[in-house]
């Protein structure tokens, strides 16, 4: 790989990069911010701060690389540094604790035959959304990045500053927790039973 030539963007190039590569991700950024903070004003501030930082540090963004991942990383860092502390929600389990509790080598794959694909497809948006929002922030984050935004494990590792192996195991845990919640919903709503309706 050739060495990256860092150079300063001209005023005009900055506008091109900002409007052409950063602004198109605003919907995804806001969705991420809202699902982190659960508050419209906090989410707005977080997105604004992120774009301000992106503008200020635009020279460290290399044109042609993944702008969305770059922006998500800034947003996630801003959230941790500025928002998590003053969050209105009581702190949920921290990932440090969570990952000490779960040994990342020993990932359990169990058959979830009592939750069926059909039941999941029949669920309303609110149920899925509530199940996602109910996850601890670090589990919620990996699901958002992987499933809502389609980032690869490698991109997620960069956004979150964690090894790929940790991405993989955290994502797996997160999906298991989500499935547990969905299973609960399915049971309480009578989905997933094979008997005919009367």
């Amino acid at each position: 790989m050739s060495e990256v030539q860092r150079r300063k963007y001209s005023q005009e190039e900055r506008s091109v990069v900002f409007d052409g590569e950063f602004m198109p991700h605003i919907d995804s950024m806001y969705n991420f911010a809202f699902r982190l903070t659960f508050d419209e004003d906090d989410a707005k501030d977080l997105v604004q701060d992120t774009y301000m930082k992106a503008f200020r540090f635009i020279n460290s963004f290399e044109q042609g690389t993944n702008a969305k991942a770059w922006l998500f990383r800034i947003l996630k860092n801003s959230f941790i540094n500025d928002y998590r502390k003053k969050s209105k929600k009581p702190a949920t389990v921290d990932y440090q604790e969570v990952e000490t509790f779960y040994n990342s080598d020993d990932v359990d794959y169990q058959s979830t035959s009592d939750l069926r694909a059909e039941s999941v497809k029949d669920m309303l948006g609110d149920e899925i959304s509530n199940a996602l929002n109910g996850l601890a922030v670090d589990f919620r984050t990996v699901i958002i990045l992987a499933d809502l935004e389609g980032f690869t494990y490698e991109e997620m590792a960069k956004i979150l500053d964690i090894p790929i192996g940790t991405v993989r195991s955290r994502l797996h845990r997160a999906r298991n927790l989500l499935k547990d919640t969905l299973k609960g919903y399915a049971q309480s709503m009578g989905y997933g039973r094979d008997e005919e309706e009367d």
Partner: protein, 90 residues
Amino acid sequence: MENTDASSPERKLQCSDVGKCFQLLERILDGELVEGGNEMLQEKLDQCQPCFAHFHLEQAIREVLKTKCTKQPLPDKLAESIRQMIQDAR
């Protein structure tokens, strides 16, 4: 063509290695390419009922997440106010 029946007499009802199989299926769904993944996937879907069910469940979850959790409406004027902030910062 993929057999889409929820159950098929050709599929075995016990998976010989749930851990390995499910991990493979999940990586394929996540777009993390595994060498020979497509052939292995097809074989599992054709021959193993737990793998078949797990694959479709995982796929359904990814789909509903993507279709139902990404529609948080952007507040009016957020984009505009960001552009304004950038203008002012210049």
